[in-house]
Symmetry: C2
Subunit: 289 residues, 2 copies
């Protein structure tokens, strides 16, 4: 690990394999431009974060979250429940007028698949699903025997919080900041993921401390400076991101190389399996203008 970066090896192999790196709409393009209407710019006191929303998987959640974002609903709200290794959760003051003003959402935590449904498969028979993989750059899990698929909880996942009832989410949301809590799959609505600035999400002030430690003063909780749809951000301030097209042959090739670990660094080969939440889906900045 001193001089040999596993990720670099994979990238390097991919670059050798691929002769062009054009972004575009064709299925084999390596990079995919984000739709500005489905992209959120979250400004934190210590950095900027970009989120891709997933209206194709959770349309009502994305519609409501986008609408609230456009209204400036989240500006100045705080991350009030931040547990290291688990989640960073934000929203308006519980039970406040603002909180109660938002309509309740019906769960959109999974969908029914048919014979035509497909995705880029990563693994079969992990602990929580018959299959895992990627669809539109989102980590997905599926149980073909039930004709069901769902967005799965990985680090960087954005999902809506709720009370005990299934259909009780409204505006409170959380980012996963620790080892994938896959047991929340199918019972929480995942509707986006961090595509840039995860290090700033990881630096959000924890609100929960271990027994015996000093409590964190609520005035020190991390506040959202501003949350905007990227299409509403003035052009000169936009952060334009492209993400890997997980439907491309290049991405499949990268998965294969990651699985077999050909580098000399792996003097003993690990099991040829992949944890879908441990496979990086790369992003790049096209321009900051």
């Amino acid at each position: 690990m001193i001089k040999t970066t596993i990720k670099n090896i994979v990238t390097c192999c991919t670059l050798l394999f691929i002769s062009a790196c054009d972004a575009g709409n064709d299925n084999n393009a390596i990079w995919r431009k984000l739709n500005l209407n489905n992209t959120v710019l979250l400004t934190l006191p210590h950095g900027k974060v970009v989120i891709e929303l997933a209206p194709q998987f959770a349309p009502q959640h994305v519609a409501q979250f986008s609408q609230l974002t456009k209204q400036g609903f989240y500006d100045a709200t705080k991350f009030y429940r931040v547990i290291d290794g688990f989640v960073a959760q934000a929203g308006p003051k519980d039970g406040s007028e603002k909180d109660k003003s938002v309509p309740i959402l019906a769960m959109e935590s999974e969908w029914t698949t048919d014979k035509t449904w497909s995705f880029t498969q990563v693994q079969t028979q992990d602990l929580f699903a018959q299959q895992t993989g990627f669809k539109d750059s989102f980590a997905v899990a599926a149980n073909p025997s039930e004709n069901k698929a769902w967005l799965t909880h990985c680090p960087g996942t954005l999902a809506m919080a709720r009370n005990n009832e299934a259909d009780s989410a409204s505006s409170h949301f959380y980012f996963v900041i620790g080892q994938a809590p896959r047991y929340l799959d199918r019972i929480m609505t995942v509707f986006g993921r961090v595509v840039y600035g995860m290090q700033y999400i990881q630096a959000i002030q924890r609100t929960s401390v271990v027994e015996g430690d000093y409590a964190v003063d609520h005035r020190d909780f991390t506040a959202i400076v501003k949350m905007q749809l990227m299409s509403d951000v003035p052009e000169t301030e936009r952060l334009l991101i492209e993400v890997e097209n997980t439907e491309s042959a290049a991405f499949s090739e990268r998965l294969t190389k990651r699985r077999v670990r050909e580098s000399a660094f792996f003097y003993k080969k690990p099991p040829p399996v992949l944890d879908v939440c441990q496979v990086p889906v790369r992003s790049r900045i096209v321009t900051t203008k």
Copy 2:
């Protein structure tokens, strides 16, 4: 997730189940005091971190790391390779006299088990091992068919970096800061884990950026202010930690409750399985004096 904290539920259930919370040496004590000679205080510019070393699993690595720590070897060295979602790696300047002065270590990445060997089992047949569980509060994986067991890479794991050759580690080390890179198991020597202050490890300056982003100036890399064995820290400045005794009946009970998810929050029960890297092993501060 708004009002119902999964971890709180589990804690609560455990507290109901357990009538005493004494620390001690008996096998059923809920908490275990750390041995100050196997505990490291890592002072970062933004917070203090406590690490438990594992001489019972990687004796030579712990001996060398402890010796270097006692000498002040790591003071003022930097985290020069920090990749979000992967690892934060530190050590002296590559190829420097200081770097070359340290003896090379032989791999201690797994051990042979016999019939008498036991651990607190968490799961069978995960992606990377026949069994997973805990031993002395460390996450462990095992393949009984090969009579082998090993410390597994989870978030917070401390391991020694190396070059391509198996036996090439010396002083460079890394913390896992993302989804468990289990494919590094058995080919890297894990020799400790963070038991306090993981949020400060997560806040270490990333040195790697996405394509198109500004490079991070090396002057901004996070430096180690001081690294000391806790036994060498003046008594008034010690951070005394206890960790959950993973061999206790209480911990096994907690595992069971975590697996079955009885809370009403789980209106639909997830698969009754556990990812060993997603099971919290709690710590508490006994005193900061």
